[in-house]
Amino acid sequence: MTGVIDTTHTTAVTHAADAALAVHVERTSSPEALRWVCHRPDLDETPVPPRGSALEQMIDRGIVSAVALRSGDLIVRFPQPVDSAGPDTVAGVHRAVVDALRYRGWSTPADSTAVSIRTRAALSR
């Protein structure tokens, strides 16, 4: 039995949030700030970070100095340059961001992201 990865046919699909949150992290022009690209323009009008979330606790503890939403992305500012904060800190903030994106009031009604990507992987037979 052989499946075929057909590299020529394109199908539009939506990734459900219960399967995976479409999110990745990028550097910004500021050495103290990172951008979590989370494709959530709907959050621009909501309080940041969500009340009682781990992300809010990180601000309280001084690990993160500020969080802002910009064009659907989450900009997180650190008290020091990111490279000196250490990978564990960044990983911890990432987990907090992912938790926040799943947080009540922040998760989307349809429980799916607004990201629509096209896939060319199709299994036959």
Partner: protein, 632 residues
């Protein structure tokens, strides 16, 4: 490219090493060749038969060692090739330094799938860059990749190239000037399935407009992958290939035949005596009889290269998958078997991509039954000499049909052999396998030329080494001891008498009781013994043993060859027996050796050689009996 120097580092061990990682068909090797030219060397990883290619890249300020790793879809290995990639990347291969930096090569048209591998490579934490190939195809299908945006999303440098046109190579060279200075991701991508899928989706959403459906490919596939139309087209393509190999190459082969014939005569006349006979009738005539088939080999490899590089062979594999499944094999085995039409050795080595050990063994054991290029000279000689050239329908002739029939017989027998192994010694459960259907592409002249050159050079080198050596040895054995023929014989009869009473002639006569039921005389027997080293030696030996009969071309000499009692040696039943014997017998020492190395056992090569030889004998006997009954 064939200096298999196990374990040793071929390039400067102190140079910075950059390993090229990517999925099969991503364009890794094209990029590697474009950067290193043909200065690459090949070695084996210690303890395994997986080869690694290393090349040196001279940059203005430094010298780099580039390592072209085997293709892999992920760093969760399922085949021996993929295992070695992971071990090499993680520095677990004894005696091989882990790479200082990694360059992932990915097909831009299948970026989503490639990003899964990218995420795994990034998680290794080494300096990494991404090179996207086939970016022109993305643009041609109205897709777009924002390289800067993708680079920011991944946190590593990204360069787009069009390998066969050399576009983007300068950027890659600039990048390679300072691997230690490459940007690194601020956070490793997630490694778990669901999270990683989300990461891939997010990266793609920010940086690419996916290419549109390839309408041309879709329309062509609708026909070529159709169960009925596709199968008919596949069979017609294969038939056209063999018909063309037979007819198109004929003028060039005739010219080469005349050249070697004149050269052999000239050498014999100029030097004279035993040395002249050895060099003229032995070496030049023997090796020349094999080299005459070079135009056919070139044509065969040219057509196989075009079919593969256009993208048709992958479709053929898909069509064949359903059939292969019934024989306990899979589509990937079909690709291996198709490459065995060129030579069984690379085909057996290519089985490393088959994850299931039992299926791999079944494919390895069946591959030698595919009609390799070494059989081509034997088939061509016998068909040209003994199958009348008649038109059956238009350009379709009896000779082309016979050739196609022999190829088909080999292929079907290989499948039947695999099926037998699958229900007996190598029973294994079926497992899903992924195959890739690349879009149809116009192959570059350079890549086709390299493919043809590799095949033609391997054939020529074999003629100049194995075949030359065996032919020289056989000439000596056919002329020692020197006996005095009885008086009253013509020169040709006297020469034949001397050969018949030589060491080789006596050996041929000694095994006559075994092969007499197949109609073989001592000359055919000697040629058969020689062909155990390499099949082509059958042709060169017949050229040597019949050289004294007349100055006609070899096919004509064989047509007129008679035994001591004036009976023709090559009767229709004998010709049928020879052809069938060559379909089945494993007469190739190199294949037996590689089979042993790849299966890591002596049992399997011994079984392959013994069983195929026994079956070849029985099948040849059946063919002889049937043809004798029909023609009597």
């Amino acid at each position: 490219m064939s200096c298999h120097d196990e374990g040793s580092l071929l390039a400067d061990p102190t140079a910075t090493t950059v390993a090229i990682v990517g999925s099969p068909n991503a364009g890794k090797t094209t990029l590697f060749n474009a950067l290193c030219g043909l200065r690459a060397k090949t070695a084996n990883y210690p303890g395994v038969t997986v080869s690694r290619r290393e090349g040196t890249l001279h940059l203005p300020d430094r010298v780099l060692t580039l390592v072209d790793l085997p293709g892999t879809y992920s760093l969760s290995p399922v085949s021996p090739d993929e295992e070695i990639v992971v071990d090499a990347l993680e520095g677990r291969v004894e005696g091989v330094r882990p790479p200082d930096a990694l360059m992932v090569v990915a097909d831009a048209t299948t970026l989503e799938r490639s990003l899964l591998l990218v995420s795994e490579v990034l998680a290794l934490g080494r300096p990494t860059a991404l090179v996207l190939t086939m970016v022109d195809e993305v643009a041609a299908r109205n897709g777009r990749i924002d390289m800067g945006r993708l680079s920011r999303a991944l946190g590593v440098p990204v360069v787009g190239v069009i390998g066969h046109r050399g576009v983007g190579l300068d950027e890659v060279r600039e990048l390679l000037a300072d691997p230690a200075g490459w940007d690194r991701p601020v956070l490793s991508p997630p490694t778990s399935g669901a999270e990683r899928s989300g990461w891939v989706a997010s990266v793609l959403a920010t940086s690419i407009t996916a290419p549109e459906m390839d309408e041309r490919t879709r329309r062509i596939d609708a026909v070529l992958l159709h169960p009925v139309a596709g199968t008919v087209i596949f069979l017609a393509t294969m038939f056209a290939l063999f018909q063309a190999v037979f007819t198109v190459a004929a003028p060039a082969m005739d010219a080469l035949d005349s050249l070697f014939s004149n050269l052999a005569h000239a050498v014999d006349s100029l030097i004279g005596g035993t040395l002249g006979s050895f060099l003229g009738d032995g070496i030049v005539a023997g090796v020349g009889a094999v080299l005459v088939f070079l135009p056919q080999i070139v044509l065969l490899f040219l057509m196989l290269a075009l079919l593969e590089k256009v993208g048709y062979l992958a479709r053929a594999a898909l069509l064949a998958d359903r059939v292969m499944g019934r024989f306990g094999l899979e589509g990937r085995s079909f690709v291996v078997m198709l490459s065995a039409f060129a030579c069984a050795i690379p085909a057996i080595m290519a089985t490393r991509t088959i994850p299931s050990e039992r299926r791999r063994l079944a494919t390895m054991m069946s591959a030698p039954l595919m009609t390799c290029s070494a059989r081509l000279p034997v088939y061509t000689l016998m068909i040209a000499a003994f199958v009348p050239d008649r038109s059956v329908m238009g350009p379709i002739g009896t000779q082309g049909l016979t050739m196609f029939g022999l190829y088909l017989l080999g292929a079907l027998s290989g499948l039947a052999w695999a099926a037998l192994l699958n229900v007996t010694a190598l029973r294994s459960p079926t497992a899903p396998v992924m195959m890739e259907l690349p879009p149809y592409r116009m192959p570059s002249a350079k890549s086709v030329a390299l493919y043809v050159w590799d095949g033609a050079w391997a054939f020529t080198r074999k003629a100049g080494t194995v075949i030359l050596g065996v032919t020289a040895l056989l000439w000596v054995l056919l002329n020692v001891p020197s006996v005095t023929p009885p008086p009253g014989l013509t020169d040709a009869q006297a020469a034949s008498y001397r050969m018949e009473h030589s060491i080789a002639g006596r050996a041929g006569a000694a095994i006559e009781p075994v092969f007499a039921p197949l109609g073989f005389n001592w000359q055919v027997n000697v040629a058969m013994i020689g062909s155990l080293a390499a099949r082509e030696v059958f042709v060169s030996t017949l050229a040597v043993t019949t050289a004294s009969e007349s100055e006609e071309a070899l096919p004509e000499r064989l047509q007129r060859l008679t035994d001591g009692e004036g009976r023709k040696v090559f009767t229709p039943p004998t010709v049928a027996a020879i052809l069938v014997f060559f379909v089945y017998a494993l007469q190739c020492l190199s294949t037996v050796v590689v089979l042993g190395r790849e299966s890591n056992s002596r049992k399997w090569p011994a079984m392959a050689f013994g069983s195929m030889f026994a079956f070849a004998y029985v099948a040849a006997l059946v063919a002889h009996t049937v043809v004798a009954a029909v023609t009597s």
